[in-house]
Amino acid sequence: MSGLADPTIAILLTGMLVGMSASLLGSFLVLRGNSMLADAISHSILFGIALAWLLTGQTSGPVQIVGAALSGVLAVYLIETLTRTRRLRDDAAIGLVFPALFSAGVILINVFARDVHLDEHTVLLGEIGFVWLDTLVLGGIEVPRAMLAMAVMLMLDAAFVLAFYKALKLATFDPDLARALGLAPGLIFYVHLSLLSGTAVAAFDAVGVVLFITFVVVPPATAYLLTRRLPSMILLAMALAAASAPLGYALAVWLDVSIGGAMALATGPFLLLAYAWRRWRAGRQKRSTQPVQSPSAPA
C-alpha cells in the first residue's frame, strides 16, 4: 500500500478535491444570492442516488453520477415551476421541494436497500475514511475510485468555468445584460447547477451530501469578505477549501471523530477570522473618518 492508495494520502487528496471543486462552483452561487440552492440540490440528489441504485444496482460510477445529477436539476426545475405559479414565494418553494425529494430517497432506501452498502446515514454523512479501500488500477497505478471521480469532476468544472468564464461572470452579475447580449444566462445557470449536482454525487462517498454544502458555501463566503475581484475570490475560496481538508483530518485523527464532518467544520474558523478582520477594519475606518463622536444613540 503506497502512493495514491495510501490511506492518509487518499483521504487528504480526496477531501481537497471535494473542497476545491465545490468552492469553484459555489463562488458563483454565493455571488448570485442562490446559496440555498446548494442545500436543495445536495439534499435532492439522495433521491437520484436511491433511484439509480434501484435501476442499475450500482452505488458509484458515471451512470450514478449522471442519474443523480439529473435529480438535482429536477429539484431546481420544480422550484422554478412552483415559484412561477406565483402561489408560493421562492423560499417556500425551495423548502417544499428538497425535503420531499430527500424523504422519497430515504424511504426508497428504507424499503428496498435495508442491508446494502447504501444507507441514508452514509449518504448523509459520508465515509471518507474508507475511500482507500475501493481502488482500481489505472496505467499501472492503484487509484482510489472516489478520488478518481472527484478529479474528473474537478476537471469538468474547471473546464466549464474557464470556457464560459465571461458568460458566467456576466450571467452572475448582470443577467439582464447577459440576456440582451444573447448569452443565454438561463442555460448557463442550468449547466452550472447540473455540474454542481454531479460534483455533489461524486463527493457523497467522501463527505456526504449535507457536508458538501459547507464546501460550496463557506469558503466562497469567506473569500467574498476578503477580496473584491472575482478571480482572486475564486482562487482564495479554493485555497481555503483545500487547506480545510488537512486541518480537518488532523482534528479528526486527534479527537477520533468523523473525518468528513471535521473537514467541513475546519472551514468555519476561516469564516470567523474573516468576519473578525472585517469588523476590525470597519471599526478602524470609522474612528479615522469620524473623529467627532456621532450624536445619535447606537441602534
Binding site: 446559496s35 402561489r87 417544499l96 424511504i107 441514508e120 469578505l225 464532518g261 472551514t267
Partner: protein, 378 residues
C-alpha cells in the same frame, strides 16, 4: 403486546399532533414573512445542541437535549444576524453557512459521543431522521411545555405579530419594537424545531415549518384562519406519518411525515377554490368560452366612442387585461369577418386593433340590441 402497541401509538399520535400544531402555527408566520428557510438553518444547527445536551446529562434525557438544541439554535440565529448585518454577505449565504457549519459540528460531536460511549447510545442517531416509535410518555412533557409557551406567546402578541408580518415599516413607525418581535419569533421557530427533533429529526424539520403554512395560505384570506388551518394540517400530517412509521418498523418517521405534508401542500396548490391552479384554469376556460366575439367588439366600440374617434387604435394588451384572458383568437376571428383590422402604432409597442366601417355598424347594432334586452345599466 396489543396493549403495549396501543400505549406506543397513543404517545406517537399525541406527540405528532403537538409537533404539527406548533410548527403549523409558527410556519404560517415564517411563510408569510418569507423566512421559510430560517427553520431549515435552525433545525440543522440544533444537532450540535442535541449532542451537547446529551453530554451534559450523560444520558438520552429529553429535557436537557431540548435545552441544548434550543441553545445552539439561538446561537446560530445570532451568528446569522451578525453575518448579514455587519458584512456584505446576503441572507442566503449566511443561512447556508450557519446551517452547514452547525451540522458539521453536530456530526463531529455525534461521532465523538458514539466512539466513546459505545453502541448503547446509538439512540442519538434517531435525531437525524426521527423515530416516532421511540417516543415515551416522559418525552411528551417537555414537548407540551414548549407548545404551550409558543401558543401563549403567539396569542398574547397576536396584534403586534400580525402588524409586523404584513407591514413591518408601519409597525416600526407606530413604535412597536420590531427588532425584538423578530427575535422573539425566531426564538419561537426554534421552539418548534426543538419540539420536532424526536419524531421528525433535524434534517427534515424544515418541511414541517413550511408545508402546512404554504398549504393553508392557499385556502385562507385571513391570518387567523390561516394559522388555525395550518396547525390542523400540520397535526394531520404528523399523526398520519407517525402512525404509518410506527406500524411499519424500519421506516423513519420524518420522511413519511414530510411526504404527507408535501402532499397536502400540493393538493392545496391544485385544488383550493380561490388560489388553486385547477379552479383558476377552469375559470379562465369558462370565461374564454363564455366571452363572445361580440363582447370584444363591443369593448373596442365603447373605447372608440369614449375617445370620440371611430378609428381609435386599441392595444391588444388593454383588451386582454380588461377581459382577463387572451383575446387574440377572438380578435382574429373578428378580423376574418372584416369587422376589425390590425393597426400600426408606435414601432415597439404591442399589437393594436381598430374598427372598420362595418365593424362600427355591427357594434352599434349589437349595443342597441343589448340595451333593449337588458336596459341601460348593462
Amino acid at each position: 403486546m396489543g396493549l403495549l402497541a396501543d400505549y406506543t401509538l397513543q404517545n406517537v399520535m399525541l406527540g405528532a399532533a403537538l409537533i404539527g400544531v406548533i410548527s403549523g402555527v409558527l410556519g404560517a408566520f415564517a411563510v408569510l414573512r418569507r423566512q421559510s428557510l430560517l427553520g431549515d438553518a435552525l433545525a440543522h444547527a440544533a444537532l450540535p445542541g442535541v449532542c451537547i445536551g446529551f453530554m451534559l446529562a450523560g444520558a438520552r434525557e429529553m429535557g436537557s437535549i431540548m435545552g441544548g438544541a434550543l441553545f445552539t439554535g439561538v446561537v446560530a440565529a445570532l451568528l446569522m444576524v451578525a453575518l448579514t448585518r455587519n458584512t456584505r454577505l446576503k441572507t442566503d449565504a449566511a443561512l447556508a453557512a450557519t446551517l452547514s457549519l452547525g451540522f458539521a459540528l453536530g456530526v463531529v460531536l455525534l461521532t465523538w459521543i458514539q466512539r466513546r460511549s459505545g453502541a448503547s447510545q446509538a439512540g442519538l442517531d434517531s435525531f437525524l431522521f426521527g423515530q416516532a416509535a421511540a417516543t415515551t410518555r416522559a418525552d411528551l412533557y417537555p414537548m407540551m411545555i414548549l407548545v404551550g409557551v409558543a401558543l401563549v406567546g403567539v396569542a398574547l402578541l397576536w396584534k403586534p405579530l400580525k402588524l409586523m408580518t404584513f407591514d413591518p415599516i408601519f409597525a416600526a413607525v407606530t413604535g412597536l419594537p420590531v427588532q425584538w418581535l423578530e427575535r422573539l419569533l425566531t426564538a419561537m421557530i426554534a421552539l418548534a424545531v426543538v419540539t420536532g427533533l424526536q419524531m421528525v429529526g433535524v434534517v427534515l424539520m424544515t418541511a414541517m415549518i413550511i408545508a402546512p403554512g404554504a398549504a393553508a395560505r392557499q385556502w385562507c384570506g385571513s391570518l387567523l384562519g390561516m394559522v388555525i388551518l395550518s396547525a390542523l394540517l400540520g397535526a394531520l400530517a404528523g399523526i398520519g406519518g407517525g402512525l404509518v412509521s410506527a406500524l411499519a418498523p424500519g421506516l423513519s418517521t420524518g420522511p413519511v411525515v414530510v411526504l404527507l405534508a408535501t402532499l397536502l401542500a400540493l393538493l392545496s396548490l391544485l385544488l383550493a377554490p380561490r388560489r388553486g391552479l385547477i379552479p383558476a384554469w377552469w375559470r379562465r376556460r369558462h370565461r374564454r368560452s363564455h366571452t363572445s366575439t361580440d363582447r370584444i367588439l363591443q369593448t373596442l366600440y365603447d373605447l372608440a366612442r369614449e375617445h370620440g374617434d371611430w378609428h381609435y387604435r386599441v392595444e391588444q394588451g388593454a383588451v386582454d387585461a380588461y377581459h382577463g384572458m387572451i383575446t387574440e383568437p377572438q380578435l382574429s376571428a373578428l378580423a376574418d369577418r372584416g369587422l376589425v383590422v390590425p393597426a400600426q402604432h408606435m414601432p415597439d409597442e404591442g399589437r393594436h386593433w381598430q374598427l372598420t366601417e362595418t365593424g362600427v355598424a355591427h357594434a352599434a347594432e349589437y349595443a342597441q340590441r343589448r340595451r333593449r334586452r337588458f336596459g341601460n345599466g348593462a
